[in-house]
Symmetry: C2
């Protein structure tokens, strides 16, 4: 029994992770959170996009443990969950910027 099957499963998970980074709206959301936490409304306003769109994408980010939330009254503040997020984006930027 080889160890290639577990590797295969991990590569599937890895693809799923990169898929999350592969959308400009989600990237912009994460980039917005580089400076610190923001509420859903603040993010929507900053990106000039519908609240619903942002909310849907925040759920994707949260499902993948890339952002976490803090509740305060009516608002929900989102922030990056992990140092990896910044690192992965910065590593990608290195490549894009040659």
């Amino acid at each position: 029994m080889t160890d290639k099957i577990p590797e295969l499963e991990i590569l599937f998970e890895l693809a799923d992770l990169f898929k999350v980074f592969g959308d400009s709206t989600r990237l912009r959301i994460m980039y917005t959170l580089f400076d610190g936490e923001n509420s859903v409304g603040e993010i929507a306003e900053a990106l000039n996009m519908e609240q619903s769109t942002i909310s849907h994408q925040l759920r994707v980010l949260r499902t993948n443990k890339l952002v976490k939330i803090r509740r305060e009254g009516k608002q929900i503040y989102y922030s990056l969950d992990d140092d990896h997020v910044k690192k992965i984006i910065e590593m990608g930027l290195d490549h894009v910027l040659e």
Copy 2:
């Protein structure tokens, strides 16, 4: 004039880059190339997938400058084009493996 517009364009490019990493077939191809160059046929056999599928995806990888080629007779050998490729994948693995 703010510098947010160029950043926006860059984030679009960045999303396109991550999209390339967001497919398990392409990830498996790149992972196969961690050990060194392989021909199209070798990759297809290693992944047990159609030659055509691999060829299509290699073109995506090549268009995005993630792999480069070396011709030798009838075969074309593909290899990773860039250290960033390995680094980005490894960074993602860090996250997936907790």
